[in-house]
Symmetry: C2
Subunit: 457 residues, 2 copies
C-alpha cells in the first residue's frame, strides 16, 4: 500500500493502549497531547474505553473541552457513567456547553435526577439552557427525544441575498446544514430550501418565490421507530419536527436515526437469541450472566415441564419406548418452526409489510405449516421405517405428530408477536427462548396425545 | 388532529389500491395522474407492488420517466425484475438517463447479461454511459459498488467566488451537496469544504486557504460493511472514494449505507432464526417454503441423530428410564446456550468489538458457562430431587450433565463463528438451527455418557 493513502480504518492495538498508559503514568502531557491530537474523537473514546478510570480521567482533564465533550458522547455507556461521576457538576456543564442540544440533553438524562438540576444550573448560555430543558421534557423514544434545536430557518419574506447574509450567523451553530427550513410569521413550517438552491438562485429573488413547499415533517410526539422508517423510506438526511400546530420545533438528522436503527436491530437480534439487550462481547462475566441466565431459566422450566409430561405418559407407554427416542426430533422441529414464524412476523411488523387481517395471515401460516410438515413427515417416516425399523403405526404416529406440531408451532409463532404488537408490547420479546420453550411443551404434549390416539395405550 | 398537519405517514389502504385499479381499468389517465401526482415516488412504488403486472405497467407507461425511474428503483426486487422484462432496452435506457450513476448501475446489474449491453448502447449521454460502465466493473459489496460518480469538486487554486460560480454548474447534477471535495492538479483528494464554509468565507479567499485538509476517505476496493462501520462511527453523511493513488473516484452517501446496514441486520436476524435471507412476510408460500424447509431438514437430521444415540443407550439403561424424561431439558439448555454464545460473538464480530486472542475468549465463555451451569444445575437438582423424587445419583447425573453441556455448548457457540470469520465465511450462518442442531446432538451424547459414568449401567 502506498505511503500516501490515508487509512481511515483506525485499529486499536495493544501497543497504542500501552503507549498511552505509559505517557499517563509519566504525566508526560506534551507527548500525550501530541499523540492523541492525531486521532478522531471517536477513536480516542475507543482508547479511553480500554484504560482504567484513573488514566481515562487524566486524559479527559488534559484535553480541552471542545474535544472531550465529543469523546464523552462516544464512550461506552458504562464508562461514561463512571467518568461523569468523577466530574463536578460545573465540569459537566462545561462539557455540555460544547455539545449540540440533542447530545447535551442525552447526557443530562443519563445523570441521577438530583444531579441533573445541579448541572443545568451551571450552564451559562441561557438559550442553550432553555433549549436543553425543553428537550428533556420529551420521551427519549419520540421525535422530541431525538431532535436538536440547532437548525437554519428563514422567513418566506426574505430575499436570497438577505437570507445568505443572515444564515451565515445561524449556520455557525449548526454542524451540518442539511436543509434550510422556511417558516411563516407564526413560525409555522411551510417549506424547505437547500443551500444549493440558495446558491443557484439570483440574489434579489424572494424566498417565497424559490422555496419548495412540499416538505416532509414529523410530529414531536411521533415514535422514534416511525421517524426512522420515514427517513429511510424517503431517503431523507434530516427531517424537521413540528408540534400539533405545525410550528417548527427542531430537526432530526440521519446519524441519530442510524443509531436508532442499529440499536433496534441489535435489540431484536439479542432478544431472538435469548439475551437481555445491551450486552456486548467484552462486558464482564457478571453482566453477561445477568443478561443470559434468566433466559436459560425459562428454558429450564420448559424442560421441567416436558419432563412432567413424559413421566405422566411413561408408565402407560412402556410398550412403545421407541417413541421416547423421537422426542428430541419433535422438540427441535417445534422450536425451529416457531422461531422461523415469529422472526418473519417480527420483521414484517418492523418493516410495516404485514398488512391485512390476522386470520388471513394465520391461514397462510397454516398452509405453509402443512406443506413443510408433510415434507418433513415424509422424510421422517421413511427414515424411521427403514432405519429404525419401527412398526407402521409408530411411523404413522411420528409423521402425524410432526405435521401437527409444525402447524401448531407456526400458528403460535405467528399469533403471539401479532397479539403482543396489538397490545403495544414489543413483539421481539416473543422470539427466542420464549417461543421455543412454549413450543417444546406444546410439541411434546401433542406428540404423546397423538401417540395415545393412534396406538391406543 | 388538525387539518393542517401534514401527515408524513403514508398508509397504503385497500381502498386506495382499488381506486387505482378502477382508474386503470377505465383508462382514466387524467384522474390517475391527478391522484398519483400527490404521492411520493416511494409511496407509488408501494401501490404498484400491490397491483398486477399489467396495471403496474400501465401506470409506469403513463407517468413521465423522471418519476418512473425513481419508482422503479423503489419497487420490490421481484416486481422490478418483471417490470424491466416488460420494457424495451430503449425504454430502460431512458429510465436510466434519469437516475444517478449508482442507481443506474444497480438497475443494469440486475438485468440478464445479454440485455445489459443492449441497454447501455441505448444510453445517449456519453458521460453518463462511461461512468455507469466504470461502476459496473466493481463488486457490488465494495465501496466501488456503492459509490456514485456525481459529486462536487473544486481545485485548491480556485477562489471562493470562482468556486461558487463554477459549482453552480456541477451542483445541478447532484441531488444533495454534502461536501465539496478539494483536489490537486492530479485529481488527488487533498481536502474538503462544506457549502457552509464557502458561504461563510470571503469571496476573494483562495480555496487553498480555507479548505479542511483532514478528510476521511475509503478505498474503492474496501468492503461495503467496513464503509458502513466507518461512516457510522464517525457520523459521516458522505465519504469520498479514492483509488490506491488517492485519486478521487466518487462518493458514497449515508442513505446507501442505511440500506446496507438494514440488509445486513435483516440477513443476520433471518440466519439466526433459520430462514434463508431475503424473504418477507408477504412473499408466496413457495418462496417461504424454499427459505424455511432446508433449515427444518437440518434440524430433522439432528433429531434423527439424537434418536440414534438414544436407541443405542436405551437397552442398557432400562433401570434408569427416568433419565429419558430429562432429555428435553438437556436439549433445550444446550440449544439456548449455543444460540446465546454465537449471537454475542456474531454481533461482536460485526461491531468489531471482539479483540484479543481466541483462547482468552474461549476461557471467558468457559467461566461464564461454569457460572450459568452451576446455577441451572442447582435449581434442576432441587426440582428433580423434591418434585420428581429421583435418586441421588440420578439427580447428580442431571446436574453434572447440565454443567458440562452448558460449558461445551458455550464453547462451540463461541468457537464456530470465530473460526468461520477467520476463514472468510459469514459467521452468521453458524447461528440458529445449525448451532442448535449440533448442540442437541452433543448435549444428548454427553448426557448419556455422563449417566453411564455415574450410574455405571
Amino acid at each position: 500500500m502506498s505511503e500516501e493513502k490515508e487509512n481511515i480504518q483506525f485499529e486499536l492495538s495493544d501497543e497504542l493502549i500501552e503507549q498511552v498508559e505509559i505517557l499517563v503514568a509519566q504525566q508526560n502531557d506534551k507527548e500525550l497531547q501530541k499523540l492523541l491530537n492525531e486521532f478522531h474523537y471517536a477513536d480516542i473514546a475507543e482508547i479511553l474505553d480500554e484504560l482504567d478510570l484513573e488514566a481515562a480521567m487524566y486524559v479527559i482533564k488534559l484535553l480541552d473541552s471542545e474535544m472531550t465533550s465529543d469523546i464523552i458522547m462516544e464512550l461506552d455507556e458504562d464508562n461514561r457513567e463512571k467518568v461523569l461521576k468523577n466530574l463536578s457538576a460545573k465540569e459537566i456543564a462545561e462539557e455540555i456547553e460544547e455539545l449540540d442540544t440533542d447530545d447535551a440533553a442525552d447526557i443530562i438524562a443519563e445523570l441521577p435526577e438530583e444531579r441533573q438540576q445541579e448541572v443545568i444550573s451551571h450552564i451559562e448560555d441561557e438559550d442553550h439552557k432553555a433549549e436543553i430543558k425543553e428537550l428533556l421534557a420529551y420521551d427519549e423514544d419520540t421525535a422530541g427525544g431525538l431532535m436538536a434545536k440547532e437548525l437554519v430557518k428563514v422567513y418566506e419574506t426574505w430575499t436570497v441575498a438577505g437570507c445568505l447574509r443572515r444564515i451565515r450567523g445561524q449556520a455557525k451553530d449548526v454542524t451540518r446544514v442539511h436543509s434550510i427550513y422556511v417558516v411563516d410569521k407564526q413560525n409555522k413550517l411551510i417549506g424547505r430550501l437547500s443551500l444549493k438552491d440558495l446558491i443557484v438562485a439570483k440574489s434579489d429573488q424572494k424566498i417565497a418565490d424559490i422555496y419548495i413547499s412540499n416538505v416532509d415533517s414529523v410530529n414531536v410526539h411521533d415514535e422514534a421507530e416511525d421517524v426512522a422508517r420515514v427517513m429511510q423510506k424517503y431517503d431523507l438526511e434530516a427531517i424537521p419536527v413540528v408540534d400539533n400546530n405545525q410550528k417548527l420545533l427542531g430537526r432530526i438528522t440521519i446519524d441519530d436515526i442510524v443509531d436508532v436503527m442499529k440499536e433496534e436491530a441489535e435489540k431484536d437480534y439479542q432478544l431472538a437469541a435469548g439475551i437481555t439487550s445491551d450486552v456486548e462481547a467484552d462486558d464482564s462475566i457478571w453482566e453477561l450472566t445477568k443478561a443470559r441466565l434468566p433466559w436459560l431459566l425459562i428454558g429450564m422450566f420448559g424442560g421441567i415441564g416436558a419432563a412432567t409430561i413424559i413421566t405422566n405418559f411413561q408408565t402407560v407407554m412402556k410398550d412403545y419406548a421407541i417413541l421416547l427416542c423421537f422426542v428430541p426430533l419433535i422438540q427441535a422441529t417445534a422450536g425451529n418452526v416457531g422461531v422461523q414464524s415469529s422472526a418473519i412476523v417480527v420483521q414484517g411488523l418492523a418493516n410495516d409489510t404485514i398488512k391485512g387481517e390476522i386470520l388471513k395471515r394465520l391461514f397462510k401460516e397454516f398452509v405453509l405449516g402443512l406443506v413443510n410438515g408433510v415434507a418433513i413427515a415424509f422424510v421422517a417416516i421413511i427414515i424411521s421405517h427403514f432405519f429404525f425399523k419401527t412398526e407402521y403405526l409408530v411411523s404413522l404416529t411420528i409423521g402425524a405428530a410432526l405435521i401437527t406440531v409444525i402447524i401448531i408451532a407456526a400458528l403460535i409463532g405467528t399469533f403471539i408477536p401479532i397479539f403482543l404488537d396489538k397490545r403495544g408490547v414489543d413483539p421481539a420479546v416473543a422470539t427466542g427462548p420464549f417461543i421455543t420453550t412454549s413450543n417444546d411443551i406444546f410439541g411434546i404434549l401433542l406428540y404423546f396425545l397423538i401417540a395415545k390416539l393412534i396406538l391406543g395405550f
